[in-house]
Symmetry: C2
């Protein structure tokens, strides 16, 4: 038997017990004829003691152990003199009688501690060592705990988990599909699913009225920060339900997770229409942990003075930053630079400082009178000592999105985005379509199967851009954790949708024929939703990135540097697949 | 609200209740001014009644409903006059007051009943309709139930589920890897995992001492009956354990599943050495539901008469088929043809009939005397009325495997392979290596990381073929449900293994370098096991094939005929991936 106990479980009640432990040497120190070793395993750390006076040879062996050696010891549990109240085993130590090296270790390339000295690249290359760090291990334990909770919750609600295939069909224009050449069907390719969307809809047609799956999804796209080419969804679909049924059940699931994992009670959630979220926060995923809601200042600024930027704007909005009227020129310049970053794209920042002494200072006081700026103060609800930051632009929503970035930046600066506070809400009534400048046509905001709001169907032909979708997102702390929609289950309505989206019948058939065909056999009304598991875990773990919630993540070039993947393959294998490399000319 | 109840839950206690149901029209019949409709959903069937006298218009509408229409009704629960005790809702019916067609259906291409008239191809093409059949639905519900049980069992034993990546590295000679061209890394490919073997070993190095994952695996090989290009494993690995620790925990898990799913108590299991299994049953996965163990007849037959076939044989063995001495010539000819099939490959079948009247008739009574055949009777333990079937050959194990096929055939013929009886055992002490005629070298029976039996390590150089592995298979009813091994965690021993397997150090490095490198950092002793989930489900579901335990299976050409995958992809997509088709010249 390799061990009688783990390194996390011995307590003062075990004193005198003869134990066998196995684990890794975390650190070792000599002190007055004694050698102390911290032995680590997945469950904790236990202090080992080797006494030179008792057994010089054994102590000598212990002194030769290097960091991360894997060892097994036998000994007796003893009460510690200097107790360590920072760890659960801190009251005891093991007086070691026998020592066996199970395997030696080279010096690890970085320290195996929560505050490691290893950089990202090194940690990725030696991920198996990085995973030994308790902080990373805890994330994966949390992820496991969450999936167990999710599965048991959904099981208790009659959901059944169905595995859908990973090797599916490539759809025309599935530009972001990863494809897999088939050896048995040369010249043909499978695709890896971007999501099980159509398959779960087929399961609804099949009568599985409550489906879920913790499903791997794949997207071959340029990796922005915090995207992975493969990611995991909690994918769900229900039949014979309306929007509120879906919202209720998954709100209950989320509440259960927050409670079980973080001990946080989530109240009944607000359902905020998308248009309101844009108006108040410039975002379809507002962070409600703090205020600084947008104030619209068109009436106060436009056309009342000779300031062309505002006079030409179609949107002028601001946020009141409490207590920041004393911001320095440097700080204000930083903010101006911030909003002008290419990824934000504002043209410039206007500020008004309402000093705590009643003074008013502004970047536009050449154009607007003190009285005008006092009126603005009233409109904005600013108080003495507050700083009003204003953006304007010629596109309402674009400007709002810029102002949203500024709001979040100010939230960060003021420390208002506490990771231990969770503010969730639903965003509803999304627009069904959005205009794509790139494609010069309307695109489905969600996907082409999303049900229009029945009240808005009459507008489908004349004002499609005003049609609201029966779609909903679950948002927490400014992060979209999940989203879904009611689906169209009527073939005629689906065909109208494709028309509005500019699909020819042929193209609709080629891309979604199997689904539309399935709908001809008594498709039930259905709706669904998917949560991003990686994001959900990282939110509950209090992390900024999803990477440490994934055992073996890829880097921003989509590479697994530990496995050195992707890599070249043999010509014989290419021949078998009947494909050939054809490097682009550079 | 689409429904107040499902179609499976209303009982006699609900009489008088006003209900709303939704589901599919299973069948409809008119009888004496009444229309009866069986309404089906995932949970069952409920009878609807439309009374012409009460509401002629409604009844008329009901008469227009076709099979598989999806409808919603409101009505009252009524006690049935002619109760149907075959279904749980058989005591009640719904007197319908309102009817709404949620969606119509074309006539389905086959009947949605357990005994469908649909052939395999049609059922695969319309899988979403096939899945409506209760028999198929039950398999997927069973699969879900099993995975919930497995996860909660392993969680209770401190295992944590860790998702390993699907896009991993292609290994040289990974001929059966599916590969995925990378757009971001042109000319390079990911591979899909044949199993998470090396990744789970890395997790052991990382200190996750109890890992599991219900994991998708992929193998691009010619599909024999009952193989799928993607399949699911219950993949497990443990650190600081010996063989018995692994066996005990997974035997307990299997016992739990058999008990919970089928109500069957599995006793403490036998651990049968591989050599014994081969000797007694000619198989490394013996079916213990019936006897007919092999009897070795070399001493009785070889060299005692002028029968060259036996005199030249290195193995002569038989099975005693109880009570079959009266088999006709036709039946015996069938058996002779059976063993000569190419997939079995025996040269011929010898029989001895020990008649219930004491007579002895044999296909070799020209060569052997009655006394000799009487002696054989004793050796074989045959009784009057039994049939002795004998195979011989020049390769011991090949002949045994042939005899095994015959034994299973006789078990089938005699109805001894009852699907409701489960006989499990462990096979242990596998040979570490097996000779490959194709490659003309020793191959790892399991995989190259399998630990040799420490007692046999001295034989590694001189007699590698005699070295036993610390490997174990879980077998039930002649099916290998799972298997695993202790792993080598010592770099030196691993290098010796690669030598015996004829790997150059360069090749070993190219193929498994990252794993061997990881082992240099304090690798713990570890061991693992994987169960085939698809097979386990199909065994417990009493099915002959895994196909109906999979929601969307592929056919024997690896095609999903519903999705029409794999398929051709756009040239633009090939260009982006910087690959080109290169059809083989035929």
């Amino acid at each position: 038997m390799y061990r009688t106990n783990t390194c996390g479980e011995l307590r003062i009640t075990n004193i005198g017990k003869k134990v066998t432990l196995a684990g890794w040497v975390q650190r070792s120190r000599k002190m007055g004829g004694m050698t102390f070793i911290d032995l680590r395993d997945r469950y904790g750390i236990t202090q080992l003691v080797f006494n030179e006076a008792d057994n010089a040879e054994l102590c000598n062996e212990a002194n030769k152990l290097g960091r991360e050696y894997c060892i097994q010891i036998k000994g007796n549990v003893n009460e510690r003199q200097n107790k360590n109240d920072k760890i659960p085993t801190g009251d005891i130590e093991i007086i070691v009688k026998e020592l066996k090296v199970l395997s030696t270790s080279l010096t690890p390339p970085f320290t195996i501690e929560n505050n490691t000295d290893g950089g990202d690249d090194l940690r990725m290359k030696y991920r198996y060592l990085d995973l030994r760090r308790p902080a990373v291990r805890d994330c994966l334990e949390l992820r496991h705990r969450m999936t167990i909770l999710i599965r048991n919750f959904l099981d208790s609600k009659d959901f059944i988990e169905v595995e859908t295939p990973i090797l599916i069909g490539s759809t025309p224009e599935g530009a972001r599909d990863f494809v897999v050449p088939s050896r048995m069907n040369p010249g043909q390719f499978y695709a890896l699913p971007q999501s099980p969307q159509t398959l779960k809809q087929l399961l609804m047609v099949a009568g599985f009225d409550r489906y879920f799956q913790i499903a791997k999804c794949f997207r071959d796209e340029d990796l922005r920060a915090d995207r992975q080419p493969e990611f995991t969804q909690i994918d769900c679909e229900m039949s014979f339900v309306d929007q509120d049924d879906v919202i209720n059940i998954f709100e209950e699931m989320a509440r259960h997770l927050f409670k079980e994992i973080r001990g946080v009670e989530i109240p009944k959630l607000e359902q905020m229409p998308w248009s309101e979220a844009m108006r108040r926060f410039g975002s379809d995923k507002p962070d409600l942990r703090f205020g600084m809601e947008f104030v619209e200042l068109m009436n106060d600024f436009k056309g009342v003075a000779d300031f062309p930027i505002f006079n030409e704007a179609v949107y002028i909005g601001g946020i009141v930053v409490p207590g920041c009227a004393d911001y320095s020129r440097k700080q204000l310049n930083e903010l101006a630079d911030f909003v002008k970053r290419p990824q934000i794209g504002a043209k410039g920042l206007v500020y008004v400082k309402y000093g705590s002494d009643g003074s008013i200072k502004s970047s536009i006081d050449k154009f607007y009178t003190t009285d005008q700026l006092k009126k603005v103060k009233q409109t904005a609800g600013a108080k003495d000592g507050d700083l009003l930051l204003i953006l304007s632009g010629d596109n309402i929503n674009k400007t709002r999105i810029q102002l949203c970035s500024l709001r979040l930046e100010m939230g960060d600066r003021l420390g208002l985005r506490d990771k231990n506070i969770f503010k969730c809400l639903w965003i509803v009534d999304f627009p069904l379509f959005e205009w794509s400048d790139e494609e010069q046509r309307l695109m489905a905001t969600h996907h082409p199967f999303t049900m229009p709001n029945p009240d808005d169907i009459p507008m489908l032909d004349e004002h499609p851009e005003q049609v609201r979708a029966k779609a909903y997102d679950f948002v927490c702390n400014g992060v979209e954790l999940g989203g879904g929609s009611l689906r169209i289950h009527d073939t005629n309505l689906q065909e109208r949708m494709f028309e509005v989206l500019g699909f020819t019948p042929e193209r609709a058939e080629a891309q979604f024929g199997f689904l539309m065909n399935a709908f001809k056999y008594g498709a039930p009304p259905h709706a669904g939703l998917a949560f991003g598991l990686d994001r959900f875990v990282s939110l509950l773990a209090g992390l900024d990135t999803i990477r440490d919630c994934i055992a073996f993540p890829k880097n921003n070039s989509g590479r697994d540097v530990m496995l050195d993947a992707p890599s070249e393959i043999d010509t014989t294998q290419l021949d078998e697949l009947q494909i050939k490399l054809q490097p682009k000319e550079v």
